[in-house]
Symmetry: D2
Amino acid sequence: MSKVSFKNDYGEGAHPRILQALIDHNMDQQAGYGQDEYSLEACDLIRNRLENQDSEVYLLSAGTQTNLIAIASILRPYEACISPESGHIATHETGAIEATGHKVLTVCTEDGKLTPDLIEPVVSLHADEHRVHPKLVYISNPTELGTVYSKEELIFLYDYCRENDLLFYCDGARIGQTMVHPEIALTLADYAKYTDAFFIGGTKNGALLGEALVVNRSDWQDHMRYHLKQRGALMAKGRVLGLTFQTLFEDGLYEDLAHHAWLMASHLRRGLVALGVHFLVNSSTNQQFPILPDSCIEKLSEDFDFYVWAPVENGHSAVRLITSWATRKKAIDRFLDDVKNALPLCN
Amino acid sequence: MSKVSFKNDYGEGAHPRILQALIDHNMDQQAGYGQDEYSLEACDLIRNRLENQDSEVYLLSAGTQTNLIAIASILRPYEACISPESGHIATHETGAIEATGHKVLTVCTEDGKLTPDLIEPVVSLHADEHRVHPKLVYISNPTELGTVYSKEELIFLYDYCRENDLLFYCDGARIGQTMVHPEIALTLADYAKYTDAFFIGGTKNGALLGEALVVNRSDWQDHMRYHLKQRGALMAKGRVLGLTFQTLFEDGLYEDLAHHAWLMASHLRRGLVALGVHFLVNSSTNQQFPILPDSCIEKLSEDFDFYVWAPVENGHSAVRLITSWATRKKAIDRFLDDVKNALPLCN
Amino acid sequence: MSKVSFKNDYGEGAHPRILQALIDHNMDQQAGYGQDEYSLEACDLIRNRLENQDSEVYLLSAGTQTNLIAIASILRPYEACISPESGHIATHETGAIEATGHKVLTVCTEDGKLTPDLIEPVVSLHADEHRVHPKLVYISNPTELGTVYSKEELIFLYDYCRENDLLFYCDGARIGQTMVHPEIALTLADYAKYTDAFFIGGTKNGALLGEALVVNRSDWQDHMRYHLKQRGALMAKGRVLGLTFQTLFEDGLYEDLAHHAWLMASHLRRGLVALGVHFLVNSSTNQQFPILPDSCIEKLSEDFDFYVWAPVENGHSAVRLITSWATRKKAIDRFLDDVKNALPLCN
Amino acid sequence: MSKVSFKNDYGEGAHPRILQALIDHNMDQQAGYGQDEYSLEACDLIRNRLENQDSEVYLLSAGTQTNLIAIASILRPYEACISPESGHIATHETGAIEATGHKVLTVCTEDGKLTPDLIEPVVSLHADEHRVHPKLVYISNPTELGTVYSKEELIFLYDYCRENDLLFYCDGARIGQTMVHPEIALTLADYAKYTDAFFIGGTKNGALLGEALVVNRSDWQDHMRYHLKQRGALMAKGRVLGLTFQTLFEDGLYEDLAHHAWLMASHLRRGLVALGVHFLVNSSTNQQFPILPDSCIEKLSEDFDFYVWAPVENGHSAVRLITSWATRKKAIDRFLDDVKNALPLCN
């Protein structure tokens, strides 16, 4: 029997309804390059959720592609991004932003979140032509650490950005977690109102592939399809993105899948808490960072796949466990059982 | 009843066996970013066909993406490509190559094909540091005009390139047409032997999406996954490319689909010839360029979609008709019938 | 005795008054990076000549640097230049424009000059996101072939550009020749009125080094010093450019030097015409392209340096002879004497 | 009477012998683009000092230009630099390195200096294709804070770099200070032996303009003139750089000028120490960072120009005072007198 993986939320294929849509429409002849009926309909479905008639939607195939095109399409050559030091564009995109010519200025932050107070010194320091001009603030919600910006925090950042002539961009690779989170409960309309652009992650929420980039400013939308084409993102077979996102946004499937992942994470967290386990970060998303004895981690690794995130102290380490739209409750129960059995032997 | 389209070879979804593979493996948990079992197996299947143990295979999501990454990954900043004036990188990729910093030097050629004699003056002219240094020769086989390089022509170009320290790269968006063409009959092993890199087009030959880049030199392969990641091409959901290409190369499906498109084009061409129609280009691939009276074209447009390629003379124009893996014989018969009926009225 | 060179117009140092200015102000402490008093004054002197209160002036160190910064500072990533096939940016700048990410679309033209009729097909062809978007028209005046745009031609191109939302940029490496040319008699104010940006070449008109970029649109001027700095053009020792251009524009020295070069070229041309020599191009600038027997060229090469431009026919070739601010009349007289002596022996 | 400036070391023109050389050779006709006799001779003179027959020398016009060309000429697209957080390329070059496509990874360091221990975690962290590949270590000697690497430290870093397949590059904008410093006494031969490339700063050591880039590896030298041309650094009027560096390296003038700046800084530092002043950084180069009462700084500002570097505490701030080849001893004496007079009133 192969191991169950909690390594990521993109290990399985796609929600079966997406595959069914591919089958149902397989022999329909459609226009290429994102101008098929499904893509147009998918973008309409998403736009209807945004309550912002200025917003435009673009379907892309992956997250780094989305970030680099979104950012490079609006910045002028001397302009730079501000990102948390742990931001995906700063750490895990192989210099994709720099490869388009733009510096990423990083800010130290313990929980992966930016605040106006953290941004302000960067803006102040960069005051003349000998330094880059910070123009875009990048956040991810939830962050790479599983922490979440509340609606108030989002508005606070957005207002700060507007007052300082900064663009506000949100990487929404796991944005669904902020929508189903009962205390956060952000809506797509909130993102359309309180960011200049953001993306709705499909890859990590049950899509076959792809992300939906939403741009809320007309100057940023200008000639966007040219940018997509130039960077290799305008697929002749755009229909596969269209059918994927049409299915995800037809009947609330997107939220259902995010909610399932969230429920599984909650079940996992509660189970671990009940066993006395502590956490590296207080995350209420589908990323959980429990701290376990190293010997216990070794034992669990026999049946489960996950990342050992960071050593903590006294022979303990934090691990990262990710649940997804495809996680089965019994897999979590089995994991909790194994922890329960292993823990007494470890201390 | 909607029109039948001969506009392109990527209007439908994917061969049903690909969809079945997606279904069969949907809930298998796999590693991301192209390290899933299917991608590894797909690359192995392709490599086995290459008869070149130095070759490496990479799966990408689209053609422009493949061209720009392949080319930018090997050229140094001052190096340039040589392309036919009609080459895809020169005309239809929105400056994607230039966006990575490299000039595309173009050569006039009537049939879309390069020869050493056409390349030589470009090489000679670019002799010092005030001009770019031509380093890579780009061809597509078949070309954008449906013409084809024979094995001898390929070898002739390859030898010229080696003698002149030029890299030889072949855009194989429709490479299948050169494999099933009875007089050309190029094999993937030929391409692995007589190019430095080429790609096997999936998009235009029945894939759900994607192309397989083959690189035959170790210096060109070096750190290729970094290039993919940096340009946004390394998809977490790489499994969809893996299953697609695994299916295409498991049992000769790739050639079967190319062969079907070729048969349909032959049927179409023979039918038109029998009706006395002439052609703009002598193409024996799945792109056909018949010359028809404009009034006839207008009539045909009622039931069929296709591109009007270029006006010719005396109220005639060339149209481009493309067949594909999904083209049905009866659609062509119906088209031929319509031509037969329309032609007498037009002259 | 070393040969006299007619190879170029930048072989000598600088007009002595420039050297004197360097000496006179050598120990004055000045601000760096182009904010010294001389640079400010030089820009003012030039601005006063422009009769366009929207124009701004920037001092740069060389022509390729000026072209690449001017062009890259205004184009968005998917935008391209249109240039004559013989344009300096297309042929002799080692892909500097492409290195900033932008395609140069070239137009065949026999005399090195563009017209609206030549530009129109390029604009029409580039109509969707699969092709670059032509945004800037590049000309040089005089051209690389010594031909000249008249004021009417300049206006005609400028009007066409405005009507088609194109930027109009003029490479003025030898712009002085168009100012002193009695029939052309373009003024800097003309250029400020009928281009969006242009540069006033110093390198080829007696400067120690440098060019003065003039930008006539505020959107193009925006953050220009950032662009200069980022591309390595903002010199701490900007004072040397300041003193150079202050001297050139204080008392009409710039025109005096251009005029001298022009007179020398006229003297040379008239002398050759009197000897029955024909010319490859009808140039009335400081570049002359006489056609001479190859044996005569060989003989002349013993005492003079010049480029053999192109073989013509019947054992004749065109040579390029360039005069400059520093050319002495007696050198030309000696050259004409040598031609006179050599010609009879050659035919 | 205008203020005396201690703001920088590039406020004056050039050492008079350089101006004399310009005059002496002004009317000599020379080849352009760095192939004039003076440039060739200057490069030879420098090469003779390097004791490394693999080294090549290139003359460029400014520091940012030199850094960006040197770095972009050797790195492949996915490769990155490691720099101290205070490094010039990280802070004061307007993203010039990123504009060529490369990330600058920064390391916190109190004194502006890197050590293998500081580099090691960056190298370890960047281990797969999701992150950039650190390839080049950037230092400046002296640093932006006036601190200096000793020969042992240089060798230690160089050895570490070689063992870890890293290129080692030294920004020598003020390299003369490390050559004349009696305890450091680095030679150009040391730099040629213990770096892969470095530059010899002219701008800040009495040159009219320019820097001399030295590259000690043949793979890094490859096609360097193409890189220079493409980035706008190959000046037709290269002769001015040639005459400048020929003069600086003919008779030890370069070291003489550096030594003068160093003596003036020593005189300044000793004078301030005698007055009981403390320093922010222990610098024995031509940059000094004394800490003075704010009211004293205000008083001094009436007669002197300098940067207020950073507030320290208790109403004190550090200022930056820079001496140069052109600093006069009596100006320093006057400054010391003013401090002496102002200090008692401030405490």
